[in-house]
């Protein structure tokens, strides 16, 4: 119990509660089932992408290409299936886009492994490359032609509630995907050699190699999974917004990374957890929506996210410094 109370996740949970209560007192409309379900629905895709980012951050790397992979896979899948006259539901969309996502991730891992390059640099090129690819080779316009199976997907709810302001709303079915993925990633991180290898890599890559972890294979699996998760998020977002966008999530990479970092993942220490990531995403979502409920204009969102992120990367760094474990320039390999 004491361990739970001292954990980073619990602190984030407390902050989340405090912020919610403060916003709720200022604006009682915030405390409603529809707001809750709205925040959950808005968080699902970011949680799914965040779980991919979590794995990369645990391994001591930063990847910003996942947003472009989400855009490329979902848009390409949509255009491909549309061209083939597909009329079914989200199932085939997910399968095809996951294949694309896995391939994109594997290609990136190949470049990273084969030429011994930092994942961050490759991902920077990768992001520009895939957005450019999407816009030049696939299409420039948002596409609103949904197959019949996807029509109305945005309003398929598990639990329905009537809201005087927002009308009928509820807990969206895609929360099931998130639960399955979250449990899968949690299991991967906790009970597989791959997961333990990620933490080992993040703690100290050299030691992980000496301990017998196949770092290259871990990198392949990690980036392939991250690509697949981004693909799932892209398709679900497309189905939500009833349109497929070639520049989906552009500029939102930082929000997701911020959420995962706030959730306790640190690229210096091989830390991070599934629960923390989900709480981090919820915190960012509550902050963003809460600002609107408090009557703060939307322009402040980015600045607030930046400030919160700075606080959350500083706290663990200062704590490490207190313990005398500071590496001078933690980005580089230890020399």
């Amino acid at each position: 119990m004491k361990k739970l109370l001292n954990s980073h996740e619990f602190v984030v949970f407390l902050i989340l509660m405090i912020i919610s209560i403060v916003i709720g007192f200022r604006n009682p409309l915030f405390f409603s089932a529809s707001t809750l379900f709205d925040i959950v629905r808005g968080s699902i895709v970011y949680c799914i992408m965040g779980l991919g980012v979590l794995m990369v951050l645990i391994s001591g790397n930063v990847d910003i290409s996942f947003v472009a992979i989400a855009a490329m896979t979902s848009y390409s899948t949509h255009m491909l299936l549309l061209g083939l006259g597909y009329n079914g539901g989200i199932g085939l969309y997910l399968v095809v886009s996951i294949v694309f996502g896995l391939l994109a991730g594997l290609l990136m891992a190949f470049i990273v492994n084969q030429f011994d390059l930092p994942i961050f640099y490759v991902s920077l090129g990768y992001q520009t490359l895939w957005y450019g690819f999407n816009l030049f080779f696939i299409g420039r316009a948002m596409n609103f032609n949904l197959p019949e199976g996807l029509v109305g997907y945005y309003s398929r709810f598990l639990i329905k509630v009537k809201d005087p302001v927002a009308g009928e709303t509820g807990l969206h079915v895609s929360v099931v995907y998130l639960l399955i993925i979250a449990i899968f990633v949690w299991w991967l991180l906790k009970y597989t050699t791959f997961g333990r290898g990620l933490y080992a890599m993040g703690g100290n890559r050299e030691v992980a190699i000496r301990a017998g972890f196949n770092v290259k294979r871990i990198t392949y699996l990690m980036l392939a999974l991250s690509g697949a998760l981004a693909a799932v998020a892209g398709v679900i977002q497309g189905a939500y917004s009833r349109s497929f966008n070639p520049v989906l999530f552009m500029g939102q990479d930082l929000d997701v990374i911020a959420a995962v970092v706030i959730g306790g993942a640190a690229i210096t220490g091989g830390r991070g957890s599934v629960v923390g990531t989900i709480l981090g995403v919820l915190l960012i979502q509550v902050l963003n929506r809460g600002l609107i409920f408090l009557g703060v204009s939307a322009e402040w969102q980015k600045m607030v996210v930046g400030l919160v992120l700075i606080i959350f990367i500083s706290i663990p760094a200062i704590a490490e410094q207190r313990q005398g474990r500071l590496k001078y320039f933690p980005m580089g390999k230890e020399k």
């Binding site: 930063v62 470049i111 030429f115 011994d116 390059l117 961050f120 640099y121 490759v122 920077l124 090129g125 990768y126 992001q127 520009t128 490359l129 895939w130 957005y131 450019g132 690819f133 816009l135 030049f136 080779f137 420039r140 500029g251 930082l254 990374i257 911020a258 970092v261 690229i267 210096t268 322009e299 402040w300 969102q301 980015k302 600045m303 607030v304 996210v305 930046g306 400030l307 992120l309 700075i310 990367i313 500083s314 760094a317 200062i318 490490e320 410094q321 500071l326 590496k327 001078y328 320039f329 933690p330 980005m331 580089g332 020399k335």
Partner: protein, 336 residues
Amino acid sequence: MAEQKRGKFPGGFRFNIEDRVLLLSVVLIILVIFFGAIEDRFLTGSSIRSMAFQCPEIGLMGLGMAIAMMIDGINLSINDTANLSALIAGLSIVKLAPFFAGHEFLSIVIVFLVAIATGAACGALNGLLAGYIGAPPILATLATLTLYRGISVVITGGKTLTGFPKELSIIGHQVVMGIPIPFVIFLIVGILMYFVLEYTTFGFKVRMSGTNPTAAKFSGIDNRSIAMKVYILSGILGAIAGIIVMSRTNSVAYEYGTRTYILLTLLISVLGGTSPGFGNVVGVILATFILQVLSTGFHMLLLGVRGSSFFKDFSWGVLFIAILIIDHFMRREKSI
């Protein structure tokens, strides 16, 4: 490692031409000949002048990125530092315009001072986070990127700022002895940077700190204060780039260059041969020219192709990864 020796002795000039500079020069010349041969408009005076107007901003940011990379850091916020500095300078000049009636040229001085002060402040926050607090530079500067962009959005409300005094546009539009003023600024800054990095104790400490921070610490170098100074310098370089952008486009937008500039500055920096402990101002400047020649050349070739700017983004991504791979092989050969 022969490379480490150079720059150690203040006043000592080196005569050996480095492989990287030679290689980049050859690539540059080949590219110029290539584009000049297939495109009549490429080697004309107006095209060369427009290239000289365009490349300084990205080159200055590239230098700012390179110096951060020399201490094993990175400055991802450099483009947003540039935008924020230009924004605050622009706002102050618009607000203070009545006081400077009749002394418009003084307003240019104010713009420079305000922008450089803002850039230095932005850099100081990066230095505080990456140097003193010890946050990983990638995350620290990603966070400040979000913060600076957020501040810019809040200040402007997401709108583009215009309406500066005419005198300000001189920097971005006039030539001195046939050379565009931005290019003159770029060259002066480049030469200053070259001397700072090669012939001062500060430059030497930067190299030491980047090559081996632990050894540097035991030699009495304060890595943290070096990091702080480097990030401040990087912020100032960003601010100068911001002034040039502001003057060239007669406007400041919070989203200027946010799509590809970070990628391009890193590309310039890596292509110029920057790695922890090693930096090469001449290489970075040559890399800037190469990038500009490629950009202008492809722009001319692809003129009329639908969506060619998207193809450009795609090519920058591919080129960046290709250069990382080539750089990998070059470094490996050197270490054998």
